[in-house]
């Protein structure tokens, strides 16, 4: 059966320590891989300023997962349930990617274009980003 591409964005509370953040992220990763999903890409934006306060917090840790799974694996249901049960999650968004989105994400990952945009995101939280990026880039490889 054809695999479906999904993308998931989670906003975690800014009060977490670095270790708690890593734990939370790895637990979601584990959930994806254990339910027959295949993690393609993950991205950490670090501490980013939000456009409006959520639960009286003005910043959040943004984490993005991109993964493939069988369409009938109910992986998204399980992931969303885990997000809802987790009190550290401020917001989440799971979407199915169409063919244009998959192509776009591939190009974005390769840094083929929109280089300036990624730099913009890092500028939003230079201190947190500097701490977090080396860790994630090592894990990606």
């Amino acid at each position: 059966m054809e695999k479906t591409h999904y993308e998931s964005v989670v906003v975690l509370t800014p009060v977490l320590s670095e270790k708690m953040l890593q734990d939370a992220v790895s637990s979601f990763e584990k959930l994806i891989t254990e339910n027959g999903g295949e993690l393609i890409h993950k991205e950490n934006w670090g501490l980013t300023k939000m456009a409006y306060p959520i639960q009286k917090k003005t910043t959040g840790f943004y984490q993005i997962f991109e993964f493939t799974a069988e369409a009938d694996a109910q992986i998204v249901d399980k992931l969303e349930l885990a997000y809802r049960r987790d009190e550290q999650v401020l917001r989440y968004l799971c979407i199915k990617l169409d063919k244009h989105a998959i192509k776009y994400n591939e190009r974005r990952r390769n840094g083929e274009f929109k280089k300036a945009k990624i730099v913009d995101n890092t500028n939003a939280a230079p201190v947190a980003e500097a701490k977090v990026t080396p860790v994630t880039s090592e894990e990606e490889e």
């Binding site: 906003v11 939000m50 456009a51 409006y52 968004l93 244009h100 776009y104 929109k114 945009k117 913009d120």
Partner: protein
Amino acid sequence: MAKRQKYTRVPVIRPKKYCRFKKSGIKYIDYKNPDFLMAFINEQGKLLPRRITGTSLKYQRKVAVAVKRCRHIALLPYVADQMK
């Protein structure tokens, strides 16, 4: 008797609007890029109509979805006073 002055309307020549997605071949609108989506909302954070941005209907729908997703993950505000 003085003759009434005839009113003639002077046509204003504006450059024709075009859909920027069709022109530059963009097929997917990223909801994680609020800086780009700023071009399609007004300073209160509301979506701009097609007649102002010139976007085609197909891509206006995609812009609307992208802006709504972007608002949900708190990268764009639902309401704002002055954002530009």
